[in-house]
Amino acid sequence: MSFPISAALLDAIVLSVVAQEPEGTYGYKITQQVTHTLELSESTLYPVLRRLQKDQLLTVYDAPFNGRNRRYYQITSAGRAQLAAYAQEWSRYRSSIDTFFREVE
């Protein structure tokens, strides 16, 4: 991939994936969704989820699934606010970069 994904952008992407599931979602599914679209290693996601959890942007709970507990991640209201701020910032960043490419296509 030519353009590296910054940690903040990865935070934003993971927040938005988790935000899509109001009831919560789990590590494997999040990883599949992100790596389906982005070329990055499957092992990248755990540190991101852990950081977001520590920053209280995500919260976790355990619920039984097939006789075992599974850990679910849910977005907090602080997470939603941060995600909205990221989305705004991204849209601004994208339009500013797009101004350079307008003539290229």
Partner: protein, 357 residues
Amino acid sequence: MTRTAFLAALEQLLAPLPEAERKDALSYYEDYLDAAGPENEARAIAELGSPEEVARKILDEQSPQGASAAPASPARKPHSRWRMVLGGGLAVLVLACFFFQHSKATPVQPVEPVSSAADSSSVPADTVPLTIPADDLGESTLQIPLEKLNQELKLSLNYGSVTFVTDPSLTSEKYATFQFDNFPHSPVLRTTGGDGRTTLTFEMPENWQVAEDAPEAMLTVTIPADALTRLIISLETGDVRLAPMQLKTLTIALNNGSLRAENLTVTRDLLVELPAGGCTIDHLSIAEYASIAATYCIRLHLDGDPADYTTDARTDDVVRIGNKEYDKRYTSSGSNGILNLYAKGLIYLNVEEQRPA
């Protein structure tokens, strides 16, 4: 590699971590392989990469000199764990020590950076965990030079309320003062930052309980009205009160509280989330975008007529604008910026309140 071998190798490689962190990571990967299912297990393990690679990413994130967690960059440049801007590898510096004072008579001590990290290649310091040694509830004061927070100030507290005081006489102040009143003992307060950015985090231990009749815990921030560019406040329990202030971006998320603001000028984005609170703003001037979601009422006086904004105000109740009432929703498409409001309760825009004499 089998599941057992993978997890055993990972456990060994994570030995430098505190036990809780190691267990968390292992239980995540056990969960992960469970979710992949026995039929996909081998593929999932192969995709994760070697245990060494998996462990390195976790250790990088955990260590104070945390190396890059950016997935696409193999270079191991030192990076901060606290990245507050898109694309920014922020150097973290130890901004401040926390001076706990039992006595009000003790003079406030300005806090200077202990070390500074001018460029991102220098090794960033981690946060300073601070334990406040006190019986019961106490007060304490912290001062931070304005240039350490004029780009961004982020307050994240899981206990207590926040009040901003911006007296006009403060314009020549060079410090922001953070006064903590009635905060319980043994919480952890951290300040992190760099490049004009400061994050102040107050975390009460999870098992801590405060007596119901305890006086309200209040963090009072005294600062010139125009000292901040971006302010982010995220509280678990308390309310936020803001004195008149001007800034570019304001984000407020209160899990259990309300927002009360006087004159507020926000030149870029105002984002307010109040899942269990209401919002009152005496006078709001926005240039670009405002989004306020509240469970109770939203009352605000806009600079100018709501019709001059691109407004979308939705409520389960009514929207009152001046003397007019709109059921459930009011929309307009003016050119004065975007205003999105959502409340379960009433929305009052530019309604003159009849205050009891």
